[in-house]
Every structure is written in C-alpha cells, then in structure tokens.
Amino acid sequence: MTEEKRCPACGKPTAGYVPCPHCGADPRNSITLKFAAVICVIILGFGAVFYLAYLTTSEAAPTAISSIDSWIDYSYVWVNGVVSSGPNYGSGVASFEIYDNSAERLEDATLPVEYYDPVDNTVPTVGDQIMAFGQLRAPVGGDKELRISFPSDIQLTRAEPVATTISDIMSTWDTSDPLSSPWIFKRVTLTGTVTGVRPLSSAKIYTLTDGVSDIELYVHNGRETLENRSLGLNVLDVVTVTSGLSQYSGSPQLVLASFDELQVVSSENAPEVEIQSVNENMIDNVVRVGGKILFVETKGSGSDLEFSERVLSLDNIYNPNVSVSEDLLDLMSDNDKALVKRGTTIELVGDVQRYGSSVRVAWVGPQSPTLTSGSYEPPSVDNFLAITSDNLNELVTITGSVTAESEISVGWLPSHWLLTLQDNLGGSVSVYLPNFLYERMESPPAVGDTIEVVGKVTSISGHSLVVQPGVIDDVQRLS
C-alpha cells in the first residue's frame, strides 16, 4: 500500500496498489531528468577529453607489412617503407612494391601496390621513401595488395641519386642475401654499354656492362605507351642511367622509371668482319657481319607450336650461320621483319658463339639492321632421283605433285607431315613439314596438289633424305 491513490504515470486510480494495476508503473523506482543530465555531463566530459586527444595526436600509424593477414582484408591502412620495385603500368593503373623492413625475409616485408588513375608526378620510383594509404586486400590463400585511389594518399620523399659503377654494385652483391647489399633500393647513377636485350611480354630487360661486370636494366613496356615513344637504344650504345636499384630472384636490377633518366652518351663500333672469316678465335666478341640471305630456316620450340629462332645462311651455305631469336625479331618493325627473308642483303651486329662443333653469329639486340630487298632462288632440281646424300645441306627448288602424305606423331602436339613429291620423270622425294609450319599454313598441300618447294636437303630420324622448307612461303601451291 502507498499514499498515492492515483498512478503518477498514467493518472488512473490505483486503489493503493503498487505497482499500478493499469500501467504497471512502480513509483518506488523512478529516475528524473537529472539522472539523464548527469549522464549527459559525463558524456560531454568524455567528449572534451577525446577532443583534447584529437588535438594532440596527428601522426598516422602505419601497419607493418609482415603483420598483414587475412583478418584485415579490406581494411584501409597506412604503409610506410621504401619503394622496392616498379612502377609498372597497366590500363589506368601503376603498380609497384613497398618494402618496410618488418621481417627478415624480403618477401615477407614486401607489399604489392596498385595505384589507380595515377598522376605521373606522384608515381613512386624505386628508392623513394613512401607513406601510402589505401585499401588492403589479403584474401585467405590469395596475394596481398594495397589499392590506392587518390594521389593525396601518397606521401613521397624522393630518393637522391648516388654515383656508382656496375662493378661496385656487383662486387658487394650477395644473391643469397640481397638485403645485405649497401646499394639495394637506392637510387644510383652509373654508366654502361648496352650489350643485349631480353624482351618479355610486359617489359624489356637490357644488359649493361662496364667491361668488368654486367647488370640488368628493367624497362616496362607500359612506359613506352605512357611516353608515346620508344627508348630507341641500340646495342653498343654507351648510356648513363639514373634509376632505382631493385632485385629480381636475388639478382640486382635497375628499374627505369622514366626515359628521361637515361642518356646515350656515345656509341661503340663493332669491328666489321666478313662472314666467311668468322672463326673460333672470335668467340664472345661482338662483330658486324653482312651478306645476302640464301635461306631462312625456322626452328620450333619443341614444347609447343611457337617459333624459337631463325637461322640465316649468308652468301654461302657453308659460311657460319646467323641465328636470331624470335623474341628479338619481334622487336623489329613489321616492315623490317618481313624483309628478313631469302634474297635480302642484311648487315647486323652479332655475338660470335660456339654452336656444337662449329661457330655461329648470334644476333644481339637491340639493333636496327641494314636491310636491302633482293631475291634468291636456289637451283632447281628436275630429277628428284638426283638428290642424294652428296647434296646434304644444299638448297634446292623442286616442283612436283603430291602423291602421298603421312603423319609423324609427336605426342600431344599436332603431327609433323611427310609429303611424297613426284617429278615429271617418275622420281620422288619426301618433303618434311614440321608441325609449327604445317599448322600455320592456311591451306596445307594435299595429295593431288602440284607444289613448288624451296628447301634444304636434310635427313630426319627414321627416314632417308628429305627436303625441308625454311618458312611457310617456301611452299607454293601451283595447282
């Protein structure tokens, strides 16, 4: 029982019952607005303290790369470190890597970064100190990656270049522990001579030498698109490069971030040598050779239907051959590439190499060989029975009708083909079409066709003499 006769909450008579039989209010337990006011004051007190904390803390706290795990997938984080590779360019994105020294192993402390819609002067280069903010991707079992969307999310301290030499870098480099090198992820300026190029699908890797040591120079193809020009280097150019020093598989690699960072100082000349004079004493020397292309022989990779290289016979089939890897050939313009054919006179720079028991000249890149169009037709053989082992490695032109065809199985790859070609006199000879040529022919020769073949007399395992064309155009269907 209570003194209140009416419920203070709903106003209805309670007949002295507590709590109110109508609304359930219990007047013995109540709070007032003062209670709420006290809570408000406490909350405002917290607010004031936190505002003070806001005024006194401003440093961004970076996340250690080695601590990144799938549990923070999709988080927005700061990462602080040195740019360790890149930039590479894709469609609307520049990618690079940051190393932050948070783990002993290089790969544990390295984070790939994708920078979307990059503004050129904010794209980091190897050696720059960087503080970057972005969204982290670290899916379970997937690759880590930081995604940056705005230029303002990158704070850069550009690296100052230090002059050095290729020899100095290489003499202090330990491929098993690249982090121990004093030059790693530093920006350096050095001079070297271009001695070669290795084209990849997304980049070109040039080799520079100072006469004592070699070093690789990585140039991403996206840079060409961005600058709308080619680097225009030639073999034996002497260049001065200012770039960051990264590493790939433990080996040092200069990374060119801008074409302006490379200047051609001069060019060395390779000694001119007659192709027939090339001999073992010149092995490992770079020479300039020339001559008329008598035959172009295409080599397949063996593991697929791709070409691996082409072998050129200059002036005489008994002269040392010139080999050109398909990758280097692809660096040429389409017009120049089309001229690398039978009859063209060519002048090029190559490296003399041992090849089995003989020597040959390996085309080195980058270069733009001198090419003069011409023609050459090997001697025609009317009587196929006249082709004997005495003619091994000779070039011939033969015309006849296909009377039979057979396959030579090569495992899971398409077969090579052996055509029997009959002349007008009733004699016959086999024409060997490797799969990498046969599969590229729009309409391969078949039984009943009359064809003309330019090829080299050779032998293949399990068969007698065959005539093997060098390129697709060496096989012409006449009817």
Binding site: L44, F46, Y51, Y54, T63, W71, Y76
Partner: protein, 435 residues
C-alpha cells in the same frame, strides 16, 4: 571545432529524417552521398554529418517508434512496450526512457574507446576465421529458438495440436525462405532504376516493416489517449543498467558480426542476459539500436581495425576513410556532443508530439503515415520501388498474422550476403536463373 559543428548539423538533419516514417539509415547514407556528389565539400566534415544523422536516428528516432508506429527491424521487437506505454498515456516517458538507454549505450561506447584499438583487432583476428559457422549458428538458433504460440484453444486431435504448434513456427520458416528468395533477386538484379540504385533496399524495408505496421494500426481503430508529460520516469536504475548493458552487448555483436542486425543481436542479448520486463526490454532495445548503428560506424574509425560494417559505414567510406588516430578521437568527441544534442532534441520533440497527439485518431495518423511512406518510396525508387514494396508488404503481413518473428524476414533477406561470403552465391544464382 568546425567538425563538431558538422556533427550537430547532422543531428538536425537526422532528427528531421528520423521523424519521417519509413526511412532507414541506409537511406540516410544514400541521401548523404547524393548530397556530397552534388555539393562536394570537406569529406571529413561530411563524415561528421553522417555520424550526426545516425546518432539522431538512434536517439530521436524513438519518437517515431513510439508515437507513429513505423518500426524498422531494430525497433520492431521493442516497439510493443512502447506502444503499450503510448496507450497508457506514457508515450513521452517511453521515448525518454529509450533515449536515456541510448545515452547509456553512448557512455559505454565512449568508455571502451580508449582500449578499442587494442581489444577489437585481437577480437577480429580471433573471430574472422569463424564467421561462417557463427552465422550459421545464429540463423539456426533464431529459427529454432522460437516457441510455439498458444492460440487459446487446444485442438482435440494430436494432428490438430501438432498443426497448431507448427503454425507460427512454419510461418517463421516460410517467411525466412521467401525473404531469402527475395534477397537473391533484389540484390542481384537491377529492379530499381539505375540512377536510384543507391536506394534499392528502401522499398524492401518499408514493405517488410512500415506498411504492415501502418495497416495493422489502421485496422486496430485505436485512439491515442492524452499523454502525460512529466520529468519523472518510472524505471529503476537497476533496470536501466541491466537493459543498457544487455542492449550494448547485443548491439555490438550485431554491429561486429556481418549479416546480423540489431534485432537479432537484441534477441541473443535478451536470451543471454535474461532480460525481463517492459522497461528492461525498452532500454535494451534502444541501447542495442544505438550500439548497432553508431557502433558499426565506430568500428570503421578504430585505429588499426578499420572494420567496415553496416550500411552507413560502407556507403560513407566511399567518401572518406579514417586515416589517423586523431580522426578516431575527433569522431569519438563528435559522437559524445552529438548524442547529448540529439537527446535534448528528443526531449523537446517527444514533449511536443505528446501534447499534440492526444485525441488524434490512430487511424488518421496511420493513413497520413501511409501516404508519406508511399510518397517517399515513389520519390526515391519510382514505380518499380512501389512494386517491390507491395511484394514485401505481403511478406511483412505474415508475421503479425501468424504471430511469428519479423526478424526472420531480415535474416532471410540478408542470407544471400552470407552465401556470397562463403563463395556459394554464383551457384545459388544459377539455380535460380538470375545469374
């Protein structure tokens, strides 16, 4: 200080929007992003406005829940006592008790703020690999924990009693299933016009909760009695403490765990802490609601955690992502000031409405609310949105008809998101023919 002012502006905007029935914080965020795109401004300031809006929704929005009966998923399980209070003339008191509960939740949030950057990352590291089975457990628990309803008459046959027993439970499962189907369709096919896609969930929420509630109000023909406006609220400090802490845990669980909403978290917290009585129920509900919405936004700002949870956080993170510890402290400070400001607004708005609402026909209010709801859905999502809303209304009427949980709708609707998280989305969509 300008950022605190941005927060207060957000509270004012959020207060106005909160009083409008049918709007959900996701709609707030969509509107906010739209405003930002039209009038680009300081992104951090915009985030403060968003925060103010969500705080206002969590505090001032209790007025809508109490006086206008247009609940969303987070208010639906607490609105029954609020409605009861309203019918006893204690609507103002109910609103203020809820507001104080929400303030309590803000206080706990501020108290854990200094240690949040330590405990939450650890918690996240531990729990992340276990999201999948935790979520499955939550769904199973919610579906299985519903008790058969007593319809007041005992069937004579065993089969009849079995049928009665499973009537509400079966309806609950059915609602879960068709909501899931709806979720697959709505979240994977462009039904709402592309230029309004940021509001594509709005008609679903309105159809699930607001319209069925308005319709049942219209049928009830109840008139609102005169409302008492007093500064004395009949709730014990113990109930306040217990309700606030239970609500905070439930809300934070929902804020932290993907897919789980405030209502689901509230049920878990209520079961876990044996919440009893209307006042504890109301307090825990409002505390849970604030913790769910503001807490989810708060998690985005915790240094070295950066956990994006909740529609407001996901949407607003398109504009700005917290970068430094000072951002976090600024946000905490703004939450504190905004919460107090929102509570003051609540007090005035609740007092004003309590005086205005007496004698007004509940039916007339409901009709007015229905028109507002229809106008807003049409305005934001067009005719297509009205169609979705109508379909969802049909689903939303099932729970009150069969006395099953409305939460099953939410759980089912968001279940496709869970399937997406575990990599089964494409397979299910192929089966449904929408992929």
């Amino acid at each position: 200080m300008i950022y605190l002012l941005y927060g207060l502006i957000g509270v004012l905007i959020g207060s106005v929007l909160s009083v409008l029935p049918s709007l959900h914080p996701l709609n707030f965020a969509g509107i906010g992003v739209f405003i930002y795109l039209v009038f680009p401004s300081d992104p951090l300031g915009m985030m403060m406005i968003f925060m103010g809006m969500i705080v206002a929704y969590s505090i001032v929005g209790t007025v809508t829940s109490t006086f206008m009966g247009a609940p969303d998923d987070s208010t639906v399980y607490m609105v029954f006592p609020n409605q009861k209070y309203l019918m006893f003339g204690r609507g103002y008191e109910a609103s203020m008790i809820c507001g104080i509960g929400a303030l309590g939740a803000v206080l706990i949030l501020l108290m854990i703020a200094p240690v949040s950057s330590t405990i939450f990352p650890i918690f996240r590291k531990i729990t992340t690999p276990h999201y999948n089975w935790v979520l499955i457990g939550c769904v199973v628990y919610l579906l299985q924990s519903e008790w058969p309803k007593d319809f007041g008459s005992r069937a004579k046959t065993k089969l009849g009693r079995l049928k009665d027993g499973w009537a509400s439970l079966g309806a609950g499962w059915f609602v879960f299933f068709i909501s899931m189907m709806l979720g697959f369709i709505v979240m994977n096919t462009p039904i709402v016009p592309a230029d309004r896609a940021f509001q594509n969930i709005m008609p679903v929420f309105v159809g699930f909760f607001a319209v069925p509630w308005v319709l049942t109000n219209m049928i009830s023909k109840a008139d609102i009695p005169p409302q008492s406006v007093s500064n004395r609220f009949f709730v014990s400090k113990k109930d306040m403490l217990r309700g606030t802490s239970a609500g905070f845990f439930g809300g934070m669980f929902a804020a932290y765990e993907p897919i789980i909403t405030a209502g689901v978290g509230g049920v878990f917290a209520g079961h876990a802490t044996s919440t009893q009585g209307d006042t504890q129920f109301m307090v825990s509900g409002s505390a849970g609601r604030l913790t769910y919405y503001v807490g989810a936004f708060f998690l985005l700002w915790v240094p070295l955690l950066h956990l994006t949870r909740g529609g407001m956080a996901w949407t607003s993170s398109l504009i700005y992502q917290p970068r430094t510890e000072s951002d976090f402290w600024l946000m905490m400070s703004a939450i504190a000031v905004s919460a107090v400001f929102a509570f003051i607004i609540l007090a005035f708005v609740a007092r004003f409405i309590a005086k205005m609402v007496a004698g007004v026909s509940f039916k007339k209010i409901s009709i007015a609310v229905l028109f507002v709801v229809l106008a807003m859905v049409f305005g934001f999502t067009g005719f297509e949105g009205l169609v979705i809303m109508a379909i969802c209304t049909g689903i939303g009427l099932i729970p009150p008809m069969f006395r099953t949980r409305r939460l099953n709708m939410l759980l089912g609707f968001f279940f496709p998101v869970f399937l997406n998280m575990i990599g089964m989305r494409a397979d299910v969509l192929k089966v449904l023919g929408v992929y």
